[in-house]
Amino acid sequence: MEEKGKVEKIIEIEGLKIETKKKVILDGVDLNIFRNSVNTIVGPSGSGKSTLLRSLNRLLDMEPSMDVSGDVLFEKRNIRDYDPVELRREIGLVFQKPNPFPMSIYDNVAFGLRIQGKKLKKEEMDKLVNRALEDADLYEELKGNLKQMGTSLSGGQQQRLCIARALVLRPKVLMFDEPTSALDPIAKGKIVDLIRALKQKFTVILVTHDMSLTRKVSDYTNLIYEGKFVAKGTGTEFFESEIEEVKDFLSEAD
């Protein structure tokens, strides 16, 4: 299964090894992430998917027990050469559990802009917040109620609020860590539509073990198993693969 050659790579992972004193979590993996596509990483629990995501925006820097080696190039530049704060603005992350800050919807979305310390005019701030809410397909539902607490929304709306909060910084890459696992089917359906729409403007990295979600949105699917990628391929190629691990995983996941 060869990756498409024509599409531009935005992230190149080369020999990435992540380990603690007790365990190797990722064992020298290579992976390319393609621009304006949905790049999905699937695998059983504990296979290193979430750790991989956290290494891409250097959130792992905050865990001294994790030893990271190998290279990750973001737009041809090693992520170690970025300031972590700058890198995290370029590579956004949406977590598994919706977790709005205990503040208004508006303040939640504006959080990322305010912490940059830039003084934006109110009109400018309003424009950016509204655009992020529109991108997260939340503006029509919530306009006029932006002073309401973010925590008062439904689970699905909270998750889209978290997406808007990440989008307001206009990251080039948006990573999702099991974004639908805590949601009901209707809320999940909205996230599926949203991920499809987002890839027009952003590069999406999706970590999940939900194969129905993967079938619906994934352009490139990568199976990780015990810290190694055992299969990589485009959406259709992956699901028709004859590789044993893929067949096993698909049969267990379905």
Binding site: N57, L59, M62, E63, P64, V85, E86, R88, R89, G92, L93, F95, K97, N99, F101, P102, F111, G112, R114, I115, Q116, C162, R165, A166, L169
Partner: protein, 291 residues
Amino acid sequence: MKVTDSYAESGHEIQWKNLGSRKIKDKIAYGLSYVVLGIMVVILVSIFIYILDSGASHITLNMLITPGNTATGGVLNAIVGTWELVGMGLLFSLPPSILGALYVVNGRSNGTLSMAARLFTDVLTSVPSIVIGFFAFIVLVQRLNMGYSLIAGGIALSVMMLPYLMRIIEISFRNIPKEQIENAYALGADDIRVASRIYLPQAKVGMFSGILLAVSIAAGETAQLLYSAGWNNNYATGFLHSGVGYLTYVVWNGINYPTTYSHYLAYVSAMLLILSVTGLIALSKYIGRGK
């Protein structure tokens, strides 16, 4: 039917037999708990009533509005001095407590330093207050030539307040969902912004109740102040080289003084102390409820 039989045979009856003795043990344990609780309540209420009664029956307006020397005059200098010392103690202990708690909870240290910080605060909690006072006397009052003063007294109190504050602030920080902290970092916040926008605003209620608790404990301290704040028959005239009056000193000295009026001043001071400490603890519990 077979399931029912095997269920009965598999020790179900034995469990019922044990249940009888367990119930008796349970009742004995509950009974003992009530007895101990009763003893504690009786002691506490007796102290409370005795002190309130003694204070209230001898209090005069003049005692509250004039300074005094524990034998004559009032206790206003001691009331003012107590809160000045506690405020100074808070000033010295709150910033390092917040920074220490942030350091311990952020999980980025290799663990050894966090453990050392926690051990250090635990040890500080157990150091007798007279030892802290002795240390303050040698180092602050004598070596650093501060004299009996607000600063020396404030530092001596802060040593005692710091471990309580740090532990309560740490608990308040730990109550914030870890995902919110990670979210803030993932949105590009640096350490200072995560502290100022997430940790401090969200932990403020817990922190405030912790501050009230530490203040109430500090307000009732005597030993370390004897060696560091000294005493003053009037108000402190500066931060250094000017002793400070405080209520616990009036209680301690007034009772030892062979006049009836000095005993009255001691009763009134004890009443003021117990009322403010109880009030502060009740307020801290009220504010921190559900946290």
